[in-house]
């Protein structure tokens, strides 16, 4: 991905991307609980657990992959920009955003895990 792509870690949209993935995950797992409970997925089994909980965990792992990848990429970009920033205002600008992208990716990963942990602990459709 080139540095000019809107999703590059030095761009504002790239910076917001990990949190956008958190939001996507949040909406999908919430919607899935409503959908699954309506259709009785909690009483079907898959891979040793109930279908709904297994789906929720699988989705969580699935979304963590790009979040972690974005975090690592942002960290690399941050280091690169930070190393070159002396005397180059362009690098300094992108270093700020890449640093923020790194921190936001970490926070997004924590929030995703935090959100999904109850899926391992609670029966999915109890009210």
């Amino acid at each position: 991905m080139s540095a000019l792509s809107p999703l590059a870690p030095g761009r504002l949209t790239g910076m917001a991307l990990p949190m956008a993935l958190w939001a996507l995950h949040f909406v999908v797992v919430y919607g899935l609980v409503g959908l699954g409970c309506e259709h009785g997925w909690q009483s079907r089994t898959l891979a040793g657990g109930n279908l709904l909980s297994v789906l929720l965990v699988a989705l969580t792992v699935l979304v963590l992959v790009p979040v972690v990848a974005l975090g690592l990429r942002a960290r690399r970009a941050w280091r690169r920009h930070a190393a070159n920033q002396a005397g180059d205002p362009r690098q300094r600008r992108h270093a700020l955003i890449a640093m923020a992208a790194t921190a936001l990716a970490i926070l997004a990963a924590i929030a995703i895990v935090f959100t999904a942990t109850p899926a391992l602990l609670l029966p999915p459709c109890a009210t």
Binding site: R11, L12, M15, A16, M19, A20, W22, A23, F26, V29, Y30, G31, V33, G34, L35, C37, E38, P89, R90, R92, R93, H94, A95, L96, I97, M99, A100, A103, L104, L107, I110, A111, F114, T115, A116, T117, P118, A119, L122, P123, P124, C125, A126, T127
Partner: protein
């Protein structure tokens, strides 16, 4: 930067300097007299109007709360009868949220941002003036309900079925739905305006890492408005058409679901708390730096925290619905997010404390208010984490504990920083220095009054005193605590009145202030006090986050006319447009001056809505004609349609004018507007699937899926319109105006064909919208998209006309780009709507 530095010609002589300053004054001043006031669009005027109107509504909402406290002072009181109590509680909450908190913060942002960012005005001044009139008329509209058979009384959250036509006959709920939505136009237009301001009009050199934290906070807030307000706007529209035309969205008997309202309302309602908190936090970040007299500790961490808060606040909405019977696992997602949001809030708080700790704090009046903020807001945050726990929430749900919590958060988190900001920026408006003595007395009255009013409510709530009820049971034994709350409420009120008196005395008799009285570092303090209507005679060039600390000569340089845009040779209001991240100069933006159009448009809408509420639907529809005429005139005369391709910002620095610049504010305004519209559309699609999830039959009774042939034809016509528009733009870029105009006409014809074909396809298979939620939501979805096709048709007609007048060509592409972008968006939305309407029921 190099370009900007190159712009250092020999300074003009004294006579030339005077001529330029005189010209700037003439170009930027509002007109004289009442007409000048009614036609004003300048950001200082509009911002101050938002602030003054906001404080007026604060006073009204505060008076309502005094009646509420009197009623609750003792059990069995009869100050207000139950109906009146419900009206006052509803209007108090509605006023404080929609007519005070959000608009006043927008007002502060509109007044301050251009000055803090080193520019002369907002890039779309008519839009903010229009927003103000909508806000004022919407507020008056809402309050006029007292004159027409009763104010709304369904609570500020307006839950259905209580507020549907069966349980709230009459027009009180309509006043709420229409009045609040009208006033919300201001929030949405402000969001568009503020995003473009922050991203495109910062002073040269103010790259992203030098942006004031206030600007970061406003930027994120504006995006939150863009995503947070549409769900409520949609919910209000759905409920209003259910009430007015008998559609079925929320009525269970016809396949609707009352919880849909709660989801949409709180999908707005919780981010709303952060929408009012983040700008206040931006004020705190600004003041802390000034009064600690050092740069912010952890600037970057605060940026991260602001962005994270903006996102996480959207994962909290169901914590208002913990008691409605949603699966526990789903509740725990929201519980987790509600606790997680404490992390970025804590980061900001610790950064502020660290800054004060390592600085040399200067305990002036604004700082005193900030101390109050720290104390109260932390307590409110802690009870917030308590309420995020599902079992605890069940215990205190709908009790006064929640009332205590929400007032600690909103008054602590928003009102205290607001008063701090008010005192801090007063010298900028008046050129006078606020006195300390009465202000400090007022602070202590408010602080003590506030805590004694709301601290006891934690206890009365835990003892079981319900909220939203006009009285309580003597057996609870909470009457003495309530009497204390009421008495302290009056202390709080006296404190607020003392603030008002103090500010009034300040305006009349305040001591003249020297420039930059707080020795602050941000650009607004480079201005002479009070500032001229054009703010900066020369656009300043900055190289630091606190430019005034770094470059003490900056104030004098920007008050002279030797720098960027110092020579108003074009005789127009001009701003400098800069790069989103780099802050490098990239265009000269010519903006509109004083005009009647914003007032005319808002007044037209007010009359239209009045006709609607009076059930004069034909008249209301007829009023769309003058409204469209006003908007057409508006679009035609925006900025300077005859601007040259390049304009000299300084000798030797020629920059493109906005019509010729790919980064034009009009373009970004369109992008943000479409984002908001996309959020509105997504809310409607959410409503569709939510209703589907709870429905027993889908399609509902009387409707069927029917044959696919006609819907497919409609889709082909729509996609064809999009392709024709693309070809039109390609023609324009190759300097073939005939191809542009032909393509636009073809797109319009194909779009019209789509409307006819799709309308016919739906009419054949769908029941009347009054029959079932399925028909209601599908007709609404199709109608919503149909309106977009009409807008795209108008956009094409407009660009066609501009091309006929020779105002669009391969260099000046803006109008053509906007028309084509409207088609691209409309086709994209149409494809999604088509899949939902025609494909999904066949699969489900």
């Amino acid at each position: 930067m190099t370009e900007a530095n190159a712009a250092a010609p020999a300074p003009p002589d004294a006579a030339e300097q005077q001529r330029r300053l005189g010209a700037l004054q003439r170009i930027w001043a509002n007109g004289p007299g009442l007409v000048g006031q009614l036609t004003a669009v300048n950001h200082s005027t509009v911002g101050l109007r938002f602030i003054a109107t906001g404080f007026a509504f604060l006073a009204i909402g505060g008076m309502l709360s005094m009646f509420i406290r009197l009623q609750l002072a003792w059990f069995g009181n009869e100050v207000l009868d139950p109906d009146r109590y419900n009206q006052f509680v509803t209007m108090h909450g509605t006023t404080m949220m929609f007519l005070f908190a959000v608009p006043i913060l927008e007002g502060f942002a509109m007044y301050l941002l251009p000055k803090m960012l080193g520019t002369r005005d907002l890039p779309m001044p008519r839009l903010s003036a229009f927003g103000y009139w909508c806000y004022l008329f919407g507020g008056l509209f809402l309050y006029s309900s007292f004159l027409f058979g009763g104010a709304p009384d369904g609570g500020w959250f307006m839950y259905v079925p209580l507020t549907d036509a069966t349980y709230t006959p009459g027009i009180s709920a309509d006043f709420w739905l229409i009045g609040v939505t009208f006033a919300e136009i201001a929030a949405v237009t402000a969001a568009v305006e503020l995003v473009v301001t922050v991203l495109k009009t910062r002073a040269p050199g103010m790259s992203i890492q030098r942006m004031p934290l206030m600007a970061w906070a406003i930027l994120v807030t504006a995006f939150m408005i863009a995503f947070g307000f549409p769900p409520l706007i949609l919910a209000s529209i759905l409920l209003e058409i259910e009430r007015a035309f008998g559609f079925a969205f929320f009525e269970v008997a016809r396949g609707g679901d009352p919880l849909l309202w709660q989801h949409l309302f709180w999908l707005f309602g919780h981010p709303e708390v952060y929408i009012i908190f983040l700008p206040a936090a931006g004020m705190v970040s600004t003041l802390v730096v000034t009064f600690a007299r050092r740069t912010m500790v952890g600037y970057r961490w605060i940026v991260v925290a602001i962005v994270a808060t903006g996102f996480l606040s959207f994962g909290l909405w169901v914590h208002h619905m913990f008691a409605v019977g949603i699966p526990l696992l789903a509740l725990s997602f929201f519980s987790a997010a509600s606790m997680a949001v404490a992390i970025p809030m804590g980061v900001q708080l610790f950064a502020w404390i660290a800054t004060l700790w390592s600085g040399k704090p200067w305990l002036r009046l604004p700082m005193v208010w900030l101390m109050g903020f720290f104390f109260i807001f932390v307590l409110g945050g802690l009870t917030g984490v308590m309420l995020a726990l599902v079992p605890f929430d069940w215990q205190v749900h709908d009790t006064h504990f929640v009332v205590a919590h929400l007032h600690y958060v909103t008054i602590g988190g928003m009102l205290f920083p607001l008063f701090a900001g008010l005192y801090y920026w007063l010298p900028l408006v008046t050129g006078r220095q606020p006195g300390e003595s009465l202000g400090r007395t007022a602070f202590w009255l408010v602080f003590i009054g506030f805590n004694l009013t709301f601290l006891p409510m934690h206890l009365t709530g835990m003892l079981g005193m319900p909220r939203r009820a006009y009285t309580y049971d003597a057996a609870l034994g909470v009457e003495w605590l309530n009497l204390l709350s009421t008495a302290a409420g009056f202390v709080l009120t006296v404190g607020m009145m003392a603030v008002a008196v103090d500010v009034w005395l300040h305006f009349r008799h305040g001591r003249r202030s020297a420039a930059n009285p707080w020795q602050a570092g941000t650009l607004e303090w480079a201005l002479p006090l009070p500032p001229p209507p054009y703010n900066f005679a020369s656009i300043p060039v900055v190289d630091d986050r606190e430019p005034l600390w770094r470059d003490p000569g900056l104030a004098q340089a920007s008050a002279g006319t030797a720098g960027l845009l110092g020579d108003p040779a074009g005789g127009r209001r001009e701003l400098l447009g800069t790069g989103m991240i780099s802050g490098a100069p990239e265009q000269v933006i010519r903006i509109s001056g004083s005009t009647w159009l914003p007032l005319l448009a808002a007044a037209n809408i007010a009359v239209l809505l009045a006709c609607f509420i009076a059930k004069q639907y034909l008249l209301a529809a007829a009023l769309l004609v003058p409204l469209l005429a006003v908007f057409l005139r508006w679009a035609w005369t925006t900025g300077d349609r005859h601007a040259p391709l390049r304009i000299e910002a300084a000798p030797g620095v020629a920059l493109p004018s906005q019509a010729a610049c790919s980064q034009a504010p009009g373009w970004w305004g369109l992008v943000i507007s479409l984002l908001i519209d996309g959020s509105l559309f997504a809310s409607l699609v959410f409503a569709y699937f939510y209703l589907w999830l709870g429905a027993e039959v889908w399609p509902g009774p009387g409707s069927e899926t029917g044959a696919l042939a006609l819907p497919v034809l409609a889709l082909v016509l729509l996609v064809g319109a999009g392709l024709a528009a693309r070809l039109a733009l390609r023609g324009n870029d190759r300097d073939r105006p005939a191809q542009l105009r032909g393509g636009l006409l073809a797109a319009a014809a194909l779009g019209t064909g789509f409307l006819v074909a799709h309308g016919a396809a739906l009419a054949m298979v769908l029941a009347a919208p009054q029959q079932h939620a399925y028909a209601s939501v599908v007709w609404t979805l199709a109608g919503f998209h149909g309106v977009h096709v009409l807008v795209a048709l108008l956009g094409s007609g407009f660009a066609w006309l501009r091309s006929r007048h020779g105002l669009v060509d391969a260099q000046r592409r803006l109008d053509a780009r906007i028309a084509v972008a409207l088609w691209r968006y409309t086709v994209g939305q149409g494809v999604v709507a088509w899949l939902v309407i025609h494909l999904f029921p066949r699969l489900a």
